[in-house]
Amino acid sequence: MNCEEIKHLLSLYIDEQLDETERLKVEAHLESCAECKAHYESLLKLQQMADDFEPGGNENYWMKQKDAILDKIERAEADNVTPLPAKKSHALMYRVLAVAATITLVAMISIFELKYDKPEKIPFMAESEQVNRISTGTGDAKPKDAALGYSTETVHKKDEEISENEPKQKHTPDKTVTKTAPKPKSVGVDESQKSEDVMGAVQPEMVPVTTVEPEPAKGSSVDYFETDSDISDKKQTTLGGAEKAEPVKGIVITDMGKTAKATANEDRIEKYVVSGQDERTDKGVENMFDAVSDDTLKFSSDEYTFWRGKVDSLEMEYGYVLSIHKEEIEGKSRMHTFHSAAPANTLIETTAPVLEPEPSPPYLEMANAYFNLANITRIDGERTVMLLKLKRLVETADSSAVKDIEILIDSLESLSK
């Protein structure tokens, strides 16, 4: 273990949260590393300082405080203040939000897996063919503190257990990654490019992924991911015939008749609307929730390595943690999802699960597909993403494919210059 990892463990060590093995590792490291030992002692002093903290003030002060409280109570009663209602249960709301969050996550995963990775493994996309256009907005948002959108828990279900109301997600946790597109340009793609199958050998049967000029979002730079119907009428955004006057901002995802839509301000995605058809009433339903939470997790690569070993899967990119899947309870995997309210101008893609490696993919074909996409796109950010994907492929690919992939990278880099 290196010092960074140890520093991370020290907090748990102080709280006696480590198992025996980790505890011994920490103690051994502290014996041999003066810097970490000093840091540990600082943490202990901090703890001691907190433990010693005792509000002072003389008895008179506290008696006055008590009297002030009782006076306030008298006044409140005199004013006939309605007592607080019993605590309302927000369980239902949270459940709705949890489902909404899951749908959004699954839809995002599916769309971008369709776009970039292994769409043949997402049967519902082939059935619905609802998502067939992707357009990217303008702007140059930087990866600011990406507040994590929300935190929820969802019990994984096996495929056969998933109801028809839910997207048919793979059982294995997918990895959703958000990338900030550096200096993307909004550029329309001509018809010949639109009809070209950019994924080539990877997904020949796929609906082509195309880029179109989006309606400019006022004061905002966001990505658009739209359905055909959304593109044909950008203001007709949702269900039950409801028409909304404001233009679609952010992300719109369609999955089996459900629409998840996120609106963004200049900094980050701030609201999600998940819509669908209630099959019992045949009415459109829409659940809206804020994606703004107080969570921001940004990990260094060491932290990532450390935490990756502790959870089932950890999704992050550019340092921002997007979700953590953890725990096995009574045979069911409980998924804690921290869906990032990512910087507004982002590209989202998926990669394979962290701890459940996929069968060896056709690396060279994937590399060619990325290369082709990078060549035809006029969006700088997308080109950058493809380049990154190629570089990542080099790290994982069979040795036989590495050389060819490196040639593609060199070509792409020289073209970019």
């Binding site: 520093k7 002692e41 002093k45 300082m49 405080q65 009782l70 007592p83």
Partner: protein
């Protein structure tokens, strides 16, 4: 010996709970003096909790008072089988969080930084009346300068001695997030208070 000590502790806790229960039942019947006993018993602890979240004595006094008032007005909904303080602390925490959200809208973020820089030499600091030691004032203000999410987790763990699981449940976050927030809170606090540590 140790067993005796444990038994005595358990006995005193049971008596404690029983006292609270009697005072709560009386207060539910309108006996404000009984409620006053609960105020005297818990106000210091609640004060410490809130001041660690807010870093301002005046705001803390208000929140502590309001929490007790709200607690009294909602006393009929209180489950007598449960301990009183955690319930009261939840009310105080919600009030404190509202206060933080409100003041973040009103104040520039730099105000907290100014507070920290001036604190050690500021003899007129209102915190000085209630927090005697300079170190404690520094700690309170360093905590106030932390992002709320880190501060809350740190305060719940360090001052309220809640377990990771309890914190996760209370804040509706994953236990792993509790880990990472605590880690960050401590790292930042060590950095801010390094001259004292």
């Amino acid at each position: 010996m140790a067993v005796d000590k444990t038994n005595r502790l358990a006995e005193s806790q049971i008596n404690d709970l029983q006292d609270d229960r009697e005072n709560i039942l009386s207060a539910q019947g309108g006996d404000k003096e009984a409620y006053g006993k609960l105020v005297l018993k818990y106000q210091k602890r609640l004060f410490r909790f809130v001041i660690m979240m807010l870093g301002s004595k005046d705001a803390t006094e208000d929140i502590v008072q309001d929490a007790f008032v709200k607690g009294y007005l909602a006393l009929n909904s209180f489950d007598i089988e449960k301990p009183f303080y955690p319930w009261l602390a939840t009310i105080a925490r919600n009030l404190a969080l509202n206060k933080i959200k409100k003041s973040e809208k009103e104040k520039p973020a730099s105000e907290y930084e100014d507070l920290i820089e001036t604190a050690p030499d500021d003899k007129a600091d209102p915190l000085a009346n209630v927090i005697n030691k300079e170190n404690e004032q520094r700690l309170a203000k360093a905590l106030a300068a932390l992002p709320e999410k880190y501060r809350t987790v740190f305060v719940l763990r360090t001052f309220e001695k809640m377990s990771y699981e309890e914190i996760a449940e209370k804040l509706n976050i994953a236990p792993g997030t509790v880990d990472s927030r605590l880690y960050r809170a401590r790292e930042k606090l060590v950095q801010m208070l390094k001259d004292l540590l």
